[in-house]
Amino acid sequence: MRFAYPGGVEVYPEPGLTLTLGSGVTALVGENGAGKTTLTKLLIGLLRPSAGSVTVAGLEVAKITVAAMARTVGYSFQNPDDQLFERTVQAEVSFGPRVLRRSAEGIERGVAWALRACGLEGKEDVHPHDLGLSERKWVAIASALAGEPAVVVLDEPTLGQDYPSRERLRSLVRELDDRGRSVLVVTHDMDFVGEACPTAVVLSHGRVRYSGPTSKAFADHSVIQEAGLEPPHVDSLARMLGLSECVSEADFLSAWRR
């Protein structure tokens, strides 16, 4: 798959991007400008490839309208202010399923679940712009979830999030995984990648530099360096102590106890 922005900036150079994302929770990481956000926009049809194709859950994205893709893919933008426009949290979060003409019962179930999972219960009547940045981020995430899509794409969900919020996000992606959804998380937060994402794709300058288990993603230093990454903090500590590679705190503690 190839894509160039108007003006000619080629995001995925010759021979183009070939990538298969499986089910479960996948992290998409790489330096600023690596092509991560562009990739997510190609997944939902906001952008169309200039060559090749993108297929999501058996649907060829180029042949379907963005509105129809929204039935399959829930997407939360990097900047929540690009996404939020309703006057209350409730109206914002229910907008997607309403437009998708879900049944009243389906809307109620999806919205209630999304509000609970995102810690927004009790804030239903608040104007989204009266909330702080991190809570607006949660409204954007809830909006992506309320239509109960099979695929969830979260662009920088940990941005501006405090520790309890990051814990909530961790349990959210686990719950989505348990419900059989596929989740793609774009992030610069390597601790979060290690804790919450079993699979990782490292993108650098529009090329896939690594795709596989997160536990092996930080092993090759040239890849790490080129993609502007840093290993998770637990990994750095484990290396200093000569323990085997660890990407999560649980990994570290079991290696330590051994």
């Binding site: 501006g160 999030q161 405090d162």
Partner: protein
Amino acid sequence: MALSSTSLVFENVSYAYEEAAREAVSDISLSIAVGEWVGVTGPTNAGKSTLCLLAMGLAPHFFGGRLKGRVVVLEKDSRELSVIQRSAEVGLLFQNPFTQISGARERVDDEVGFGPECHGVSRLEVAARVEEAMALVGISQLAARHPMDLSGGQLQRLALAGLLAMRPKLLLLDEPTSQLDPAGTAAIFDVLAGLHASGITIVMVEHRLETLCELCPRVVAMVAGRIIADGPPDDVFNREAVQLRVGSPVFTRLAREAGLSPPWPVRLRDATAVFGRRLA
């Protein structure tokens, strides 16, 4: 501490936004000396961003609301100065860089020069400052681009360059690297370390506790509008109230979970030493 050496002082400051039911900050007292690098952290709605807005004077000058107590910035009472006057010496980097860009300039270099230009700095001097600020944050190659065409990370660097072109004495940074990749983050923190070494006072809101402990000799932990701890990171993050309500750096959590005895380490090098001793 003599008054002449303070950069930022809050004296029993409480503030509520217009029409807000509760105060965003309550009875805050804080004194920051010239040249300090202070990290501010705490959960959502702790009052961290409000603290920055108060120091900049945007609250209450722009946001309205009710201010009690005294905010003294570079030895001047905040009530006596307009935000414009203050912006000659104090720079605030907003949490969301998209809101920082003036929208009045169509090139990155013009945007960087917008502040000094508005303050009547000579054309030659503006050009020199713009070049220096862009080089410092690594955006020289973007000089001719339109600010609105930049990525989040590039925009965040641009916003910082715009502040640096003002040559501020006090920098208020609300999550200055939230949009940057780890390498870009490290580069910006190097820039801040250089500014700190040159004597500029930095107050920085940061959620990543490991980063905070690595960089800031002093940490202020806030919860629900109040300061619950203020001191060196090792002291602050070894307090139970902070661990419960703000969280701990990963090294502190690991040491606690591994059953090591407190005080627990807050930085990588200390954690390596503490765990290493147990291994030996």
